[in-house]
Amino acid sequence: MGLNIVVLVKQVPDTKNVTGKAMKDDGTVNRAALPAIFNPEDLHALEAALTVKDQVPGSRVNVITMGPPSATQVLKDSLYRGADFVALISDRKFAGADTLATSYALKCAIEKIGNVDLVFCGRQAIDGDTAQVGPQTAEKLGMNQVTCVSAFTKLDAKARTIAVRRSLESGYEVVRAKLPVLLTFTDEGFAPRPSSARRVMMYKNASAAPTAEASYDDCYMNASACKDNEIIALWDIASIKADPESCGLAGSPTKVKKIDSVVLTAQDIRMIDNSESAIGSLVHELIADHTIG
């Protein structure tokens, strides 16, 4: 009996390869200057899901993302690597969502898929770095959750349990959970596999944008080569049965009052000896200038 897995992924600006000015003058991210990529830790979550699929025959990997039509690129990348089903949750009513509204929409989408055994996602996205969406989604689904997973120690599909290695600052712990469970992954394990050449040839023309507003509702974008197959599902607010009041700006209690563009002024680094006394005196220095304490 296979497992039904949902992987939550996000398209993010590549903060490591900045081609121009990364921040606008108002302190918001200048997306035009940053190439859009698959959030790195989400790729590890996808690899983890594909690993489960390799180990447990009959498993199904569903990948969903919330974002603008251009975010279909991460869904195509997921198809290239082996996803069975992908869906884009896109509706202008989702605009301005904070982590609470985002996790609500994702929860609705996961419920639409139904009978889910495992939900996988990256620990955090490199644009927001909140690490909140995974845990909040688990809470809303009423599901167990384990964060910062770097490896599986045992997956027992029959007994419906999974034991995972969880990275901690001080080391690691092994945690066992009952299914269904939501896991968030770090980039330490599950090195992403390359795309499959065959699947790239098959899905490279899967198109993104719907043509008209009318077709926006629960329509399917199709791979030109597989016209009758539903390849990239497009779900709007109604198709995932989400309450508009809990979505987008309306559903987001987070209000951004002001953004400061912080420019780091530190020029130099200082090396200290790895000794009790040197560390002690540095701590005293930092307390004295109110950096800590």
Binding site: R193, S196, A197, R198, V200, M201, K204, A225
Partner: protein, 572 residues
Amino acid sequence: MENFFLDNEDLLFQLEHMDLDRVIRLYEDEFAEAAKYPYAPKDVADARDNYRRTIEIAGQIAAEFMAPFAPEVDATGVKLVNGEVIMAPPTVKAWDMLSKAELTGLTFARANGGLNIPLTVLSMIGEMMSRADASFLNLGLQQDIGATLERFGSAEQIARIVPILARGEEGSAMILTEPDAGSDLQAVTLKATQTANGGWVLNGVKRFITNGCGRIGLVLARSEDREGARGLSMFLYKRGKETLIRRVEEKLGIHGSPTCEMQFNNAPCELVGERGRGLTKYTMWLMNSARLSVASQGVGIGEAAFREAEKYARERCQFGKAIIEMPAVYEMLTEMRVAVEAGRSLLYETAKVVDLKEGLERVSELHPEKSAELKADVKKYVRYAAFFTPIAKMYNSEMANKVAYDAIQIHGGTGFMKDFNVERHARDARITNIYEGTTQLQVVAAIGGVMAGTAINIIDEYAAEDWSALPVHLVKTLEKARDSLERTILHTKDTNSQEFLDFHARRLVEMATDLIMAWLLLRDARHSPRKLRLAETFIERLQFRVKAHSEYITAEDAFFMKNYREILNIKA
């Protein structure tokens, strides 16, 4: 993310400017499979796009999963434990990645689990793999063995075995060489005996078998009660307890690749194709694909060694400046760069010619009604492929050695140390001009083409293209060199001496190869000013090389052949 395709401007250039239209149409049989397989291309542009994306995936695997681990693979090598070969862990991982990327069956038919990718594209991938880790031979081998089965096996054998190879579930080997049958495969003695129930068993020893531990093998064995090539047949076998891996060799280079000595004790096997055709037809075909793989391996090693040397020469300062500024160093580096790019152009022209031959033969078989119309072209490309393949293998394997040798020289003492990659490249390169037929045997395979006019035909075809956009003196220099080659050929013929021909064969083949590469570089120069400088530089030196060979061959007093017996003390 690192990528050995995207970071290689010359490879990108080659793919962009390569005219693959006819190859694609032939391979795709006018896109007959587009309706059947969602991943089959619907037109030429679609196919080219598929190729590009496929090469890009392979480039990522080469850069991320192979290159960083090549030193470790080299240091670990392979081990024989309880009769089983243990590969270095990164080699296993790389194969797993290739199999996940569905690249393990690249060239096979879609019906057999493959992607119907032409050899030109496979050669590009092979080049990148060898640049990353020259000991990684599994992919090329797998393609060669699967393709040989597809070509000569029965429908049942193909359906049973090729999909397994395509998925990468089993490794494979071509099992030819024996202790007393290396270059001379006619001397193979491994015995194939027919059993009472009509099956076959193998008995005897094979040596120097690359990846002999692979479960699936094509074996050359003596099935007939007669000596020589006609007594040999080809057999398909799946390695079981009847076949022992007796040892794995300790080698100078390509440590990651297991070279096995194998003993067959009544090992069950099955006949491939017809009896008595094992060497003359099937092995020759298999060997030609393998030679193309080695040519791409040579380009890959050359590229890797050049990059190391160039980086070092820019960074290393002596006498107050970077050594790349010094004539002795920049001459070596420029020669290396020119040699690699010339070899690459020759490799892809060769691959294209072989693809045209394969494509034409396939279409002629599939559509007998077209065979009359295609007959002349089939004949032409069979002849061209038989000439291009050995010269591409000869040139690129020798080039890899020379470039890796000079790369050490540029590093000075540092390059002699194990801490740097160049000594590994030099060790790995050393096998390329030996296996799948030594350079001397490539000359034997190519000299016929030079003497029978194939080489001059090819050169004249290039010369007949429109060169008006390029400097006329370059074209003139090549025309002059061509005439000098023709005169030298005539002179050789006039001597009526087989020994004279054998003695000068390598020089003659090198003259022809030089001229072909010069025209190919000039073709590249149509698209890029840099390539024009490269062609100019190549042709400048070519004229003196051709002249030197020609004058030596046609000289009136020839002492060498008279003196060697005395010098070596060989009794007449």
